[in-house]
Symmetry: C2
Subunit: 261 residues, 2 copies
């Protein structure tokens, strides 16, 4: 009998979010599942790590019925992955890390702000094939049917054969029924950004404070982007890099800035 | 008389760090300077944003002697940039954003964890040419002579002519004297990562907690990396991308995963 794959599950919405429960159920048939997730919602934490405060890690019996080992952590999504690798696995390398299923889109530039994707990215930096999943539905009672289908499709493929180094996917799932779902599409990240309009208010002592209110602006008209795929009822699959070197500008500078001391 | 360039200065070590004071002094001759920095140290915050809590923004007279408009913000480095653009500049686009000078290296994979670089990245996403500066010296009384020279070299060049879209540089400065300094070198990000060893302790109530203790592991033997340049006494200049699509794996998948529904 061959050894079962070891699958690390995490997220950024916290251990009690419906998204992670659906993700666990979807990956259960594919291996031994260990869950390490934040003890509270961590949306928008990006790649934050806790270097100036200590972390708590606590075993829970939340998913014992499914033979799933579960921990909650007081830190960020990236902290969860670091603790899992060093303290829980003690050097045994998981075969796969899955993160999510996030409540809300992480398509396009959201990959940078997303705790879901940062957790997956952290695992990929350590050489663990990783996938972050997000559903375009903020509703607590969102329907995860299509999402679970997408998870199964991708997890079975990624575990089925060796993947390239630093393999990392940003997967977003449209809010559609299984009947209306058009399939998975490999895409590039749309060139979009958020425009903020801070909502200025006054506290009871007359001092100003600000709530961040963003508007997503997509000027990218390409048909091969994640935003476009989602609009057309596809799940978008964007391979994500961890080498951030911009080669185009690097070459441009090398030609331009000579004799540079 | 032509209009003075508008320069936004921020950091992640907080408004009272010596690094930001040195950065302000170095850019003063090049334009009108506005500072928006966190009111407390924010190291390791990565690209975190505050979506579930309101933000404070307060005018200070810290650098009034130099005619520098200064604000402190209760949020993350990325929050500072977003507030500056919407609340302070109200649509007027800065000509340059500089972040730092960070106390400690942000070379190689540290670009992902760094609040300094995330602030610069946020400005670059919004189309503002941006540079993050870091000095390889954690000492509060670090010598910023070489750093200031590097800032002047780069700021004068970047303001001197149009830069490509989403122009963003990760600049690291070695801990050397001006005499020993070898110059600036355009590099790629070294393929390195952190290996964590969490320091497990017990609180007075007998419950475990963990301190993150990392060890930087660089297996990249290339001579064109930022880590190598710094080792040889150069300041490393790495152009950073905000499109994270991994084209190599994208093509690999497109060839492999056909008939994909």
């Amino acid at each position: 009998m061959t050894k079962q794959p070891l699958i690390l599950v995490t997220n950024d919405d916290g251990i009690n979010a419906p998204g992670i429960k659906n993700l666990i159920q979807a990956v259960l048939p594919y291996g031994r599942v260990v869950v390490v997730a934040p003890d509270s919602p961590q949306s928008g934490m990006g790649h934050a790590i806790s270097i100036n405060r200590p972390l708590r890690l606590e075993r829970l019996d939340l998913f014992d019925e499914w033979d799933v080992e579960t921990y909650q952590c007081s830190g960020t999504p990236v902290d969860c992955v670091k603790l899992a690798i060093d303290v829980i696995f003690k050097g045994e390398k998981p075969d796969l890390c899955v993160s999510g299923i996030n409540h809300g889109s992480n398509a396009s530039i959201n990959v940078i702000y997303s705790g879901t994707m940062s957790a997956a990215m952290e695992a990929a930096i350590d050489g663990i094939p990783s996938i972050g999943f997000s559903l375009l539905d903020f509703n607590y009672h969102a329907d995860f049917t299509v999402s679970r289908y997408v998870v199964e499709q991708l997890v079975s493929r990624v575990l089925g054969e060796p993947m390239p180094d630093h393999f990392l996917l940003n997967v977003n799932i449209p809010k559609v029924t299984l009947e209306a779902f058009r399939g998975l599409k490999i895409c590039r990240q749309a060139d979009a950004h958020w425009t903020e309009n801070f909502d200025e208010r006054q506290d009871p002592r007359g001092k100003n404070y600000y709530w961040m209110v963003g508007r997503f602006v997509n000027r990218d008209r390409g048909e091969d982007t994640d935003v476009e795929a989602l609009k057309n009822g596809f799940a978008s699959v964007v391979p994500v890099r961890i080498d951030f070197t911009e080669e185009f500008i690097k070459t441009w500078l090398e030609n331009k800035w000579t004799a540079f001391r």
